[in-house]
C-alpha cells in the first residue's frame, strides 16, 4: 500500500553545501583539511587536502649526506621518530654493509617499542577526546609523560630524537634506564585495565565506535593501507613479523589481527598492540647484551650504486624507504613511503554517507600524523 504521507519524499529536495573541516580545526590533529560536501549532517563527498606543512624532506635529502638525512626523518612522523630514524639507518646499513652490534639492536627495539607505547597512548587520549570524552586524555598524558622522560634523559630530546644512526645508536643508555623502564611497565600494567574500565565498557563509546567507519578487507588491500588500520580489517601486515629487522625474529610476540573492520576493532587492535609491546620490552629489558652500542663507521659513507628498499613498522603502519644511490656520498633519490599518506586514502570510502560525528570518530581511529603525510 502506498503511504498516505510520504515523509521521505520532501527530504530529497535539499541543498548541499561545502564545509571545510580543517586546517584549523580542533580534531584534525594538525593542518589537514577535509573538504566535505554535506547534505544536512550527512557527508556526500570528502576530499582530503594536504600540503600545509610540506617541507620537501625528499628533496632536502638530495643535498645532505646519509647521516644528515636521518635528522630529517625525525621530523616526519614526530610520534614515531625512533622508527623513522631506524628505517633510514637500516637502509644505509644495508647499502653500505654495516654490521650493527647486538647491544645496539636491543636498544633500538626497546626504544621503538617504548615509542610505540607512547604513540598509542597519545592516540588513545586523542581518540577518546574526539569522541567527546576529555578525561581519558589526561590519563593518557600522565602515562606517556613517564616514557617521554626516559627519552629525554637518554636521547636528549622528547619528540625529534635523532637517536638511531647507521651502525648503532647515538649514545649508550643510562644506568637508570632499566629500572625506569621496569617502573613504566609496572605502572602501565596497572593503567591499561584502568583505561579499559574507563572507556571500553562505556555504552556511549561503544555505540559511537561499533559498526562505524567500516573498511572492508578488499578496500584496505586496494587502498594500500597498512598498520593497525589494515590489521583491524583482517590483513596480516606487521613488518616485524613478515620482514624482521634488528632482531625482531628472536622475540616472542603476536601480530594483532582482527577482522571487525570497524572503528571499534581498530581501537581494540591498538590497545592489544600496547600489551604486545609491553611483552616485547619485558623480554629484552633484562637481556640487553653487553658490548658496543655503535660500530665505527667512516665519517663520510658512500653507498654502492643501486636501489634499496627498507621497511619498518612504525606505530601507524609500514614506513618504507626507497633509496637510490649513485655511488656518491649523497642519496640520488630517497623516497619515504609514509604510512599516514597511504592511510589517508581511506578518508573517502570510510566517510561518504556517514555523519559529521562519525567522520571525526572514525578518522580518530585512523590516527593520522600530518607532518608525515606532507613530508
Amino acid at each position: 500500500m502506498e503511504p498516505i504521507i510520504n515523509f521521505a519524499a520532501d527530504v530529497e529536495k535539499t541543498d548541499e553545501f561545502v564545509v571545510n573541516i580543517g586546517p584549523q580545526h580542533p580534531s584534525t590533529h594538525g593542518v589537514l583539511r577535509f573538504q566535505t560536501t554535506l547534505d544536512g549532517e550527512i557527508i556526500k563527498d570528502i576530499v582530503p587536502i594536504i600540503g600545509y606543512i610540506h617541507r620537501g624532506i625528499e628533496k632536502m635529502t638530495e643535498f645532505l649526506s646519509y647521516k644528515q638525512s636521518i635528522y630529517l626523518t625525525s621530523r616526519m612522523d614526530y610520534l614515531s621518530s625512533f622508527m623513522n630514524n631506524q628505517a633510514c639507518a637500516l637502509v644505509v646499513e644495508k647499502a653500505c654493509g654495516i654490521e650493527v652490534p647486538a647491544r645496539a639492536q636491543a636498544i633500538r627495539i626497546l626504544m621503538c617499542e617504548l615509542q610505540r607505547l607512547a604513540s598509542h597512548e597519545l592516540w588513545w587520549g586523542s581518540c577518546t577526546m574526539d569522541v567527546g570524552a576529555v578525561t581519558p586524555f589526561f590519563m593518557a598524558f600522565r602515562d606517556r609523560e613517564t616514557i617521554m622522560d626516559v627519552f629525554e634523559a637518554n636521547t636528549g630530546n622528547r619528540l625529534t630524537t635523532n637517536y638511531i644512526l647507521p651502525g648503532g645508536v647515538m649514545m649508550d643508555i643510562l644506568p637508570d634506564f632499566i629500572p625506569q623502564v621496569k617502573e613504566i611497565l609496572r605502572n602501565l600494567k596497572n593503567f591499561l585495565p584502568e583505561y579499559e574500565a574507563l572507556v571500553n565498557g562505556n555504552f556511549i563509546f561503544q555505540k559511537r565506535m561499533k559498526g562505524v567507519g567500516i573498511l572492508t578487507k578488499e578496500q584496505a588491500i586496494s587502498l594500500g593501507v597498512t598498520g593497525p588500520v589494515a590489521r583491524a580489517s583482517g590483513i596480516s601486515c606487521d613488518v616485524r613479523k613478515l620482514h624482521p629487522y634488528d632482531g625482531y625474529e628472536k622475540l616472542d610476540f603476536k601480530e594483532v589481527v582482527a577482522d571487525g573492520c570497524d572503528s571499534w576493532t581498530r581501537y581494540l587492535v591498538r590497545l592489544e598492540e600496547m600489551k604486545q609491546s609491553i611483552h616485547i620490552i619485558e623480554q629484552l629489558i633484562d637481556n640487553i647484551p653487553e658490548g658496543d652500542f655503535r660500530t665505527k663507521t667512516k665519517a663520510v659513507l658512500k653507498a654502492p650504486e643501486g636501489e634499496y628498499y627498507q621497511r619498518v613498522e612504525t606505530a601507524r603502519g609500514e614506513l618504507g624507504v626507497y633509496f637510490v644511490s649513485d655511488g656518491t656520498a649523497k642519496p640520488y633519490r630517497m623516497k619515504f613511503r609514509s604510512p599516514n599518506f597511504s592511510n589517508l586514502a581511506v578518508a573517502k570510502p570510510l566517510n561518504v554517507g556517514a555523519k559529521i560525528g562519525d567522520l571525526i570518530a572514525s578518522m580518530a581511529t585512523i590516527d593520522l600524523v600530518i607532518p608525515d603525510i606532507d613530508r
Binding site: 594536504i50 620537501g56 628533496k59 588491500i221 636501489e307
Partner: protein, 156 residues
C-alpha cells in the same frame, strides 16, 4: 614464491619485458604501453596475486623518468618492483603514462604526488591535482636541476 621462482615466472610470462634485480626485490621493466596489461596480469594471475601497491614513485634519471611500482601480494607475501621508463620531454610539455588507479586504488594519492613533484601526468586518473604544493607553485621540485623560485615572488 621465493625470489628465484618469481624471477623465473616473470621471465616466462612476460617475454617482452626485461627482468632484473634490485638489492631487495626482483625487478621487471616494462614498456609504457604494456603497463596496465602487465599490472593487471600480475594482480589477477593466481600464481602472483600482486594486489597490494605499497609504494609508487618516480626517479629522475636526467634523460628519462623511471616510474617505480613496488608490488606485494597479501596472499603469498612475495614482493617485486615494476619499472616503466618514460621519455622526458622539454617543459612545459609533460610526460604521460597510464594510471594504474583502475587496478590498484592506492595509486590515486601516489600519482597525485608524482604529478605534483615530478610533473608526470597520468591518463585515467580520477582526480589529478597538485596535491601537496598547490596549483600556484612554479615547476616540479623533485626533478634534478630544479631551479628554486624566488620565494618573495612566489608568495605574493
Amino acid at each position: 614464491m621465493n625470489r628465484e621462482e618469481l624471477k623465473a615466472y616473470l621471465t616466462e610470462t612476460f617475454p617482452t619485458a626485461t627482468i632484473g634485480d634490485t638489492f631487495d626485490f626482483p625487478l621487471i621493466v616494462v614498456a609504457k604501453e604494456n603497463l596496465l596489461e602487465v599490472v593487471g596480469k600480475l594482480k589477477n594471475a593466481p600464481e602472483t596475486k600482486m594486489d597490494f601497491l605499497f609504494c609508487e614513485t618516480a626517479v629522475d634519471r636526467i634523460e628519462q623518468f623511471e616510474i617505480v611500482y613496488h608490488l606485494t601480494s597479501t596472499t603469498y607475501r612475495h614482493d617485486m618492483v615494476l619499472k616503466v621508463m618514460l621519455d622526458k620531454p622539454e617543459l612545459p610539455e609533460l610526460p604521460k603514462i597510464d594510471s594504474v588507479y583502475s587496478l590498484l586504488e592506492a595509486a590515486e594519492f601516489y600519482e597525485n604526488e608524482i604529478f605534483d613533484l615530478f610533473g608526470v601526468t597520468f591518463d585515467g586518473h580520477p582526480n589529478l591535482r597538485r596535491m601537496i604544493l598547490g596549483d600556484e607553485w612554479p615547476g616540479y621540485p623533485l626533478r634534478k636541476g630544479y631551479e628554486y623560485p624566488d620565494i618573495e615572488q612566489t608568495l605574493k
